[in-house]
């Protein structure tokens, strides 16, 4: 049989906790397939059960109903030890041991593969080397963990998971607490790893924009309805991303590629290049200036940069959005007075 890209499947899965006779169902009727070589993003509001799903896939929490098949076999039939050779995780807990170096932490990933004493064989050493190379952290290898930045630490944690050498990597919010550059870098790194190492990577994230740019597949987990899966672009065109937004005040703007508030509709005539208009509109919305009389308009010119406010025949020129807004605000107050 050829290498099957689908490594993990579930159908009609119910998640939750069982405490004595009490059953606390968190999510119901989930169906999904996780594929090798793909970066899959699990998106959903806080508290919808993303972490519960991760725990269930890790085999640490039995599903209330349905089954997860790992390589065709129900996950409950695997021992912890066997799962650890197939699934590696990166969690949100911070690991900061002063006495541990980066390489030593990555070496911990080999624990499922070594003998009781944990001695690293040549093969283990080369897997550790590969993991360090794949995450571009060679220059950090001998540093203690306490000296790393959050972004570097996250890469080290990914390297450790890679060294564990499972077919599946689960990452719980790998980009939380990181700055924009690091978030992009980590996501690009994960995508490269999925491609080059043929891993099935599942991450949870709240970073919609970066996820759209990098993910091969989306799993949307809306409140109280089943999982919606598919290509991010398909989901956008089918307007499925709105499922994630519980409030009717918000919607996903296809053109801008981000979530917008429905109130943000300007009734102001603005002329000028689109790229400049966008920022002026944003500034006006922020300052709650959404309406002007019909005979008033704003013209933007690029070179020299000028904002020309036309009120009937009179023209007022500004060189800054700030002074225009100040002008409106003064105008409004004088009208009120």
């Amino acid at each position: 049989m050829a290498d099957n890209p689908i490594i993990l499947t579930a159908s009609n899965l119910n998640l939750g906790y069982r405490k004595g006779k009490q059953v606390n169902t968190i999510a119901e009727h989930l169906d999904f397939e996780l594929k090798k070589g793909k970066l899959t993003c699990l998106l959903g509001p806080n508290g919808v059960g993303k972490s519960t799903l991760i725990k269930t896939i890790m085999g640490q929490l039995p599903p209330l109903r349905g089954q997860i098949l790992l390589d065709g076999k129900p996950i409950q039939q695997y021992g912890l030890w066997e799962i650890s050779k197939k699934i590696a995780v990166v969690l949100t807990d911070k690991i900061r041991m002063g006495t541990l170096s980066v390489r030593q932490l990555v070496e911990l990933g080999r624990i499922p593969h070594t003998s009781w004493l944990g001695r690293l064989a040549t093969e283990d050493q080369s897997k550790v080397d590969n993991a360090i190379k794949a995450t571009n952290i060679q220059y950090l290898a001998d540093r203690p963990l306490t000296e790393l930045s959050d972004g570097q630490l996250q890469k080290v944690m990914i390297a450790r998971a890679l060294a564990q050498d499972g077919e599946i990597l689960l990452l719980d919010e790998p980009t939380a607490h990181l700055d924009l550059v690091n978030r992009l870098e980590i996501m690009q790194l994960l995508k490269t790893i999925a491609r080059n190492e043929n891993k099935a990577i599942l991450i949870t994230t709240h970073d919609l924009e970066i996820a759209i740019e990098t993910a091969d597949e989306f799993w949307l987990m809306p409140c109280g309805s089943p999982l919606v899966t598919g290509l991010p672009e398909d989901l956008i065109l089918q307007q499925n991303l709105d499922l994630l937004l519980p409030s009717h005040q918000l919607y996903f703007d296809r053109d801008a590629g981000k979530i917008k508030s429905k109130i943000e509709i300007l009734k102001i005539n603005i002329d000028g290049p689109a790229s400049m208009k966008k920022w002026l509109e944003q500034a006006l919305i922020k300052n709650n200036i959404t309406k002007l009389p019909k005979d008033q308009s704003i013209t933007l010119t690029e070179n020299p940069f000028e904002l020309i406010f036309k009120d009937g025949e009179t023209e007022t020129r500004f060189h800054q959005i700030k002074s225009l807004i100040d002008f409106f605000k003064r105008g409004n107050t004088t009208e009120k007075n």
Partner: protein, 343 residues
């Protein structure tokens, strides 16, 4: 992970340990020439009969007790610190020492109530050891029941602390009702003592030490995985509940036997693993375990040498000496660098 400096450190440690061992044998209220002691250890007869008795029946068992207790306490401290991921965990924390104390207190109370004269003669020492072991095991069983019910390590740690406090309170109640002589006896026991262990007791101690170390050796890789916390460890195939049992059994036997034979000895369990981390600059338990054991033996031998007050017939209580050395050391460690980062 092992490299040459590590081996060198172990070699130097062993050398220091031997040196302190020899020092321990040669100091005391009676002066015995050093060459005589070396000869005695090599199997030759000493030139005076009394020297022979002092060396073989008193100083040698005492030095060996110091080594065994040092190893047992520091190895159990190391396990607890890693398992609970708490730098202040130690054998005292799971209430083991307090349990042993309760056993001894009840024994002394009962002896005064029923008029037994158990504290006289060789039988008395055995009965105290027996009572201490029983108390330690009892607290340990309670803790195991809790561990079985409670899955969270931090909760277990807090419950252990509370057990310790409750048991100490019980001891105070018992002390309040006991007679002056019993109270004095109990106070002396609680000051700890490395002396007064016979060879048969030493054999028992040694066997307990061996049995207690087996679970740690067996789980040494799991302890390395625990550096990253329970969830990560579990994701690497470590069975946490089995590790918890191994930890409870091992620390129970190691710390319980040390407390039973020597009385409570403070700070060795907390301070020594940190010293090992500092000296060997690693978090790898394959180095830290033998490292802590060696450091524990060295420190307790050193404390014992100090308590001996060379040239004088007086001996300071060992618990006081270890506290006087251990407490400033823990404070120094905390001040020197961020404890949580260090750990």
């Amino acid at each position: 992970m092992k490299n040459n400096p590590t081996y060198l450190l172990f070699f130097l440690g062993l050398l220091l340990c031997l040196l302190l061992f020899a020092l321990n044998l040669s100091i005391g209220s009676v002066h015995i020439p050093f060459m005589e002691i070396v000869g005695g250890l090599a199997g030759k007869e000493l030139s005076r009969m009394s020297w022979e008795t002092i060396l073989m029946e008193y100083r040698l068992p005492k030095a060996l007790t110091a080594i065994f207790a040092g190893i047992g306490l520091s190895v159990s401290g190391l396990q607890m610190q890693t398992f609970f991921r708490n730098p202040l965990a130690g054998p005292y924390v799971l209430g083991i020492s307090s349990g042993a104390g309760l056993g001894v207190a009840i024994l002394l109370m009962a002896s005064s109530a029923f008029g037994w004269a158990i504290y006289q003669g060789g039988l008395g020492i055995w009965s105290i050891i027996f009572a201490a072991s029983l108390g330690a095991i009892l607290v340990l069983l309670l803790m195991s029941l809790t561990a079985w019910k409670v899955k969270d390590s931090m909760t277990l740690l807090i419950v252990g602390l509370m057990f310790g406090s409750a048991v100490s309170a019980l001891i105070s109640v018992l002390a309040y009702f006991s007679e002056a002589e019993q109270l004095k006896l109990f106070t002396i026991w609680s000051m700890g003592s490395l002396g007064g262990t016979s060879y048969s007791q030493l054999t028992g101690f040694f066997i307990a030490l061996l049995i207690g170390i087996i679970p740690v050796l067996y789980k040494i890789k799991s302890y390395n995985a625990m550096l990253m916390g329970e969830v990560y460890a579990e994701s690497m195939g470590i069975n946490i509940s089995r590790l918890r049992w191994a930890m409870i059994i091992s620390t129970g036997i190691l710390a319980g036997s040390a407390t039973a034979f020597c009385g409570p000895i403070a700070f060795i369990g907390i301070a020594v693993p940190h010293m090992a981390r500092l000296v060997f600059k690693t978090a790898d338990h394959r180095v830290l375990l033998p490292g802590s054991a060696l450091a524990g033996a060295i420190i307790l031998l050193f404390c014992d040498a100090i308590s001996q007050l060379p040239g004088s017939a007086q001996t300071l209580p060992i618990n006081a000496v270890t506290s006087l050395i251990g407490a400033p050391m823990v404070i120094w460690l905390i001040l020197r660098r961020n404890f949580s980062k260090e750990f």
